[in-house]
Symmetry: C2
Subunit: 398 residues, 2 copies
Amino acid sequence: MSADQKVLSSLRPGVATEPMSGIVDTYIYAMGKPDVIPLWVGQGHLPTPAFIAEPAARALAAGETFYTHQRGLPELRQSLAQYHARAYGKAFDAENFTVCQSGMQSIQLALQAILSPGDEVILPVPAWTNYAATLRLAGMKPVEVALDFDGKSWTLDPARLFAAITPRTRAILINTPGNPLGHVLSHQVLQAILDECRRRRLWIIADEVYGRFYYSGNKPGQPAPSFLDICDTEERIFFCNTFSKNWAMTGWRVGWCMAPKALGPILENLVQYNTSGVTTFLQRGCIAALDEGDAFLADQISQAEQGRRIICERLAKAPGVRFAWPEGAFYLFFKVEGATDSAALSRTLIDQARVGLAPGNAFGQAGQGFLRLCFARDPAQLTEAAERLGNWLERNER
Amino acid sequence: MSADQKVLSSLRPGVATEPMSGIVDTYIYAMGKPDVIPLWVGQGHLPTPAFIAEPAARALAAGETFYTHQRGLPELRQSLAQYHARAYGKAFDAENFTVCQSGMQSIQLALQAILSPGDEVILPVPAWTNYAATLRLAGMKPVEVALDFDGKSWTLDPARLFAAITPRTRAILINTPGNPLGHVLSHQVLQAILDECRRRRLWIIADEVYGRFYYSGNKPGQPAPSFLDICDTEERIFFCNTFSKNWAMTGWRVGWCMAPKALGPILENLVQYNTSGVTTFLQRGCIAALDEGDAFLADQISQAEQGRRIICERLAKAPGVRFAWPEGAFYLFFKVEGATDSAALSRTLIDQARVGLAPGNAFGQAGQGFLRLCFARDPAQLTEAAERLGNWLERNER
């Protein structure tokens, strides 16, 4: 046995064989290749705006560089409550919110608070890569239930979701608007899930990080249908969220969760034992994002809506492409007829079309043959990317 | 059953009953009380210096606000290798380093990479609160082995450590210089532990965050004896560290780990599934800390050494106090004769002596009757605190 093998054989079982995210794989393949338009990752092209960056920089210069409240500055938790109240039209209480280091961390906190090794979590797929991997690495079991795709839309049948419940099931993880599909669950479907979870005493882990990116609302800025509209904050539901997407803060690594108040001391402990709190001075920028960021967010949503049109209209004309117009989030998930290996196709497109897309199978086997494109980008760049993709598809009609 | 009880009864077993850190308890008790000198927590009184803060603020203003390398900026990992080379007088490779969100997170990464639920970890105590709690919350078992205290010094008998090894033991966690004791393990003891772990195929989790705060060296700035001096970087040893203590960056929440290169892809995954990387622009400040921070660090160490003298000399004169002069770290751990409830004594001292100390039993039952005082503080403040404590002890001689 080599020295490396000796080391690897003495790790947690499963940890060495968990594959790298297929999105990272694409990122690495494209690295250093000139003139590739990067649409594989879920972030916009704008840096964090000054009205958010400056308060953080001022707090840093003023010496707000000491340990702070494990669950976040009280003012920040208050701003979270007020932001939710504005967006969802009802009152929220700061005590339900916990600030943490990224949306990803908020999911970790949910798993650590609720689940034990061996527990099953029902997961509609295709879904963001990180859910299943994180569950597996923690010794939990993601039970995947595929959405139906008829070539024009994705449908989640709640009955199929419930049929997957076993005595080991502890939670259902719902991401709406969904990454990578851009599908949005209706209030009717959310209510059915909530009712069943209440009946079966299951937790809902609700990842609504794209909740503001919704393109089918009646009013401008209307959030997507949300569990927030129908649930009681003190029941078994754990919301995961992040500053990343709304306010161009992907590089900040700050998120939050909303959970029943009874979990307060538990989350205080879990934050302590994961990262011991969130960077103190950055929280001043987060307050500015929430308190003064509504107009910036509206611009972000409107730009994403424009990007969606640019991409969908061009690809609708390309041969062999099938997709549902995304109702939310900022991804197009499209099928390329005849493609059987998304990862290989993604590499081919990087080399031949100079567009970087995430391979659909990174989101579960149900995504094989698909590609994911992020359209929360500069419209001029998206127009160019749409042309390159459209032209490549036309040249390579199967 | 109340709504809260329903929620609490459906969580991960053990998570709701894990007590809050006794240090947090003291912090909460002292909150809002005027004129209490806060020596309960492990941080200095200086904010992060400008030569570290400014590069971070510049990177933020320049828009370095996007996702970045999961294991840290390549330049930062290079700076970590160079910093270690300067401090330990031999070459290090950037590939062994992973940047993460706090020293606490580096311990989480170690547990997630190496251990499984049910595994035992041998832990010399009294030890930092967070080790045992984090292990318990992850379903692992801390096996505590008490150091011996003869009234003047703390001794770790390696034979007693090894006697605690069972078939479930997977690692020994060694924190030297140690929090809260300030004890420093000799090269001889470290070598004995390394030899035994090699023989028994156990991991060493080495928390050396106080490695530079050492008061018994032959040369100024000499680090404490370290596993880095004697181990091979590619064997079963996982180093946990942080920017917090050396460079007055507690509020930043950035740390690092050093592990065998074979763990690289595993740590890439684990970082992805815990926090998805470290705040991009902050890493520019971390590079400045490592590349330009040697003089600042030397001042920090020298100030801590001065604080140690101020505190130890005064308390040595007080009645009923027993302690070992700490050889490293920046804590005095002292026994008060007749004290049977450290937490109660800590509250009494907040109210009557206006000095905030961490209760010794927060560091395990072996610390009952002790108090921990952080002396990495302003000398004038420490002189005042020493007087207050000394006077209180004289007034309350038992």
